[in-house]
């Protein structure tokens, strides 16, 4: 399952690493937009398979950030 950016902004902090087990509504990363920190939550339980962005990256809305399995 793919977690995509719900809004455009900059990746401020990535809170998980590949292989981590996450539960639904766990915080995965923080995107800064309009000088506001927006935590992005897991939409389901799973394991982090791939992280497609780095900290400080600029992301567009709907860009895939993290792949969960």
């Amino acid at each position: 399952m793919e977690i995509s950016a719900p809004l455009p902004g900059n990746v401020l902090e990535i809170l998980v690493k590949v292989g981590d087990e996450v539960k639904e509504n766990d915080e995965l990363l923080i995107i800064e937009a309009m000088k506001m920190e927006n935590p992005i939550f897991a939409s389901a339980d799973g394991t982090v398979k791939e992280i497609k962005v780095k900290e400080k990256d600029t992301v567009d809305a709907e860009q895939v950030l993290i792949v969960l399995e």
Partner: protein, 447 residues
């Protein structure tokens, strides 16, 4: 005088002390609570400065002329005396000469027994009051009164501030979803509601308009409109506007909860906004300028500056102007504007019952502006296939981007997967345009 230095203690009264405390509270909130520090520190410091008597920083000189002919029977004041508005300077056989403002006597040109004609110079007064220049002309003689006169009263700083805001504003979210323009327009209802309530409360038309415009939640617009219509209440309207912008996280949520059901607050909005092309972003400021100024000509200084600043941002070829407007220029204007606004609040001017009433009406304006946006969003949902979350209507109360952020927080409280920030930015920036137009409408009718 005679080599003696006159200290300020003689003229210091409890009102000054109270205003200094309020100024210090502003500075405290800015430093330790991080509440709008860029505004509250200079405003708070300006308030403090102007309430230290004889500092002269906000002084205006006024030549007082005799309102009628007569013989001076008795002098009631001497040079250096301080007075409040309506104080008797001297008694004539035909009546009294009273002070039209608060302040102190600089020089007196008349003496007991003298016959004076109507229009003769009675003396020179020093005041800190903002007067109607067509009736009581004054000349600024202090550092901040000069900045206030030539910056605020001559309508220089607020429009220039708008230019910087234009450079700072991304109209993308609004253009991606033009429906949100309506929500920003609806929020102007708060302006007109507060206007009518102020009229009912006994304020004059120009005062009521200046109070109503607080609901536009736009600092420079409020200052601009008040400086033209009712300069004597500019401190109160500016403080109301700026402090309620800081208090948006407290004012907005109860309004939203009152007017929406849990189900409505949970409405999910898809992340993807339509991609807005560069051409659209360039055309928008040009077309808006032409249309808005043709319809509401008196909004020209604000809308014109707002849009040229935005064109600096979007044209792609004026990066230097854009960068200066977004950083250095906005800081310079903020320093002058906020210090001068702080200094427009000497105790004699600010500590009146009308100030309290203005602050109350300001909250009403803010809350009803947010409420009107929410209600229109709910109404639009009756017709829309893809429902909008009515909470984004509350962001129509300008206060960019604070109110959009509040909507984002409220949205995530209901559903962690829902990101309303960008959706709320649409009504939010539309609200800023709406406020400038509402101000233009008042000026067109009343000025």
């Amino acid at each position: 005088m005679f080599g003696l230095l006159e200290s300020g203690f003689g003229l210091f009264y409890w009102g000054n002390a109270l205003m200094i405390v309020i100024g210090l509270v502003f500075i405290y909130l800015a430093i330790s609570k991080d509440m709008e520090p860029l505004l509250l520190i200079p405003i708070g410091f300006g308030m403090m400065l102007v309430n230290l008597p004889l500092g002269g920083i906000m002084d205006y000189e006024m030549v007082l002329r005799a309102p009628q002919a007569g013989t001076v029977m008795e002098m009631q004041m001497e040079e250096g005396a301080s007075f409040s508005k309506g104080g008797v300077i001297c008694k004539l056989d035909s009546g009294e000469i009273v002070t039209p403002v608060f302040g102190r006597v600089d020089t007196l040109k008349i003496s007991k027994g003298q016959h004076i004609n109507k229009g003769d110079v009675v003396g020179k007064l020093i005041t800190m009051e903002q007067t109607d220049q067509s009736v009581l002309p004054t000349r600024p003689i202090g550092l901040l009164s000069r900045i206030f006169k030539y910056g605020v009263m001559w309508q220089m700083l607020p429009p220039l501030m708008f230019l910087c805001l234009g450079a700072l504003t991304d109209f993308g979210p609004m253009l991606a979803n033009p429906k949100t323009l309506l929500l920003g327009a609806a929020a102007q209802f708060g302006v007109y509601l507060a206007f009518f309530m102020a009229l009912l409360a006994g304020f004059t038309f120009p005062e009521a308009a200046s109070i109503g415009i607080i609901g536009g939640a736009e600092g420079p617009t409020t200052i601009y409109v008040t400086s033209l219509l009712a300069p004597h209440i500019i401190g109160a309207t500016a403080v109301a506007c700026y402090s309620y912008m800081a208090l948006v996280p407290i004012i907005l949520p109860p309004v939203v909860y009152l007017l929406t059901t849990k189900k409505e607050r949970q409405i999910y909005m898809k992340p993807s906004l339509r991609k807005v092309s560069k051409l659209e972003k360039i055309i928008f400021p040009l077309v808006t300028t032409i249309i808005v100024i043709l319809i509401v000509p008196s909004s020209a200084p604000l809308i014109g500056c707002f849009m040229v600043g935005n064109l600096f941002r979007e044209s792609g070829v004026t990066e230097r102007l854009n960068k200066t407007s977004q950083t250095t220029l906005v800081d310079i204007i903020t320093i002058f504007l906020t210090l001068a606004i702080g200094a427009s609040m000497p105790a004699q001017n600010f500590l009146r019952s009308s100030t309290l009433l203005i602050l109350v009406l300001g909250v009403v304006a803010f809350a009803s502006a947010a409420g009107a946006g929410v209600l229109l969003a709910k109404f639009m949902n009756l017709f829309l296939k893809e429902k909008i979350n009515p909470m984004i209507g509350a962001a129509g109360v300008s206060a960019v981007p604070m109110s959009a952020r509040v909507v984002q927080v409220l949205g995530q409280k209901e559903n962690r997967q829902n990101f309303l920030l960008m959706h709320a930015m649409g009504p939010n920036v539309a609200g800023a345009i709406g406020a400038a137009i509402a101000g233009g409408v008042f000026l067109g009718i009343l000025h």
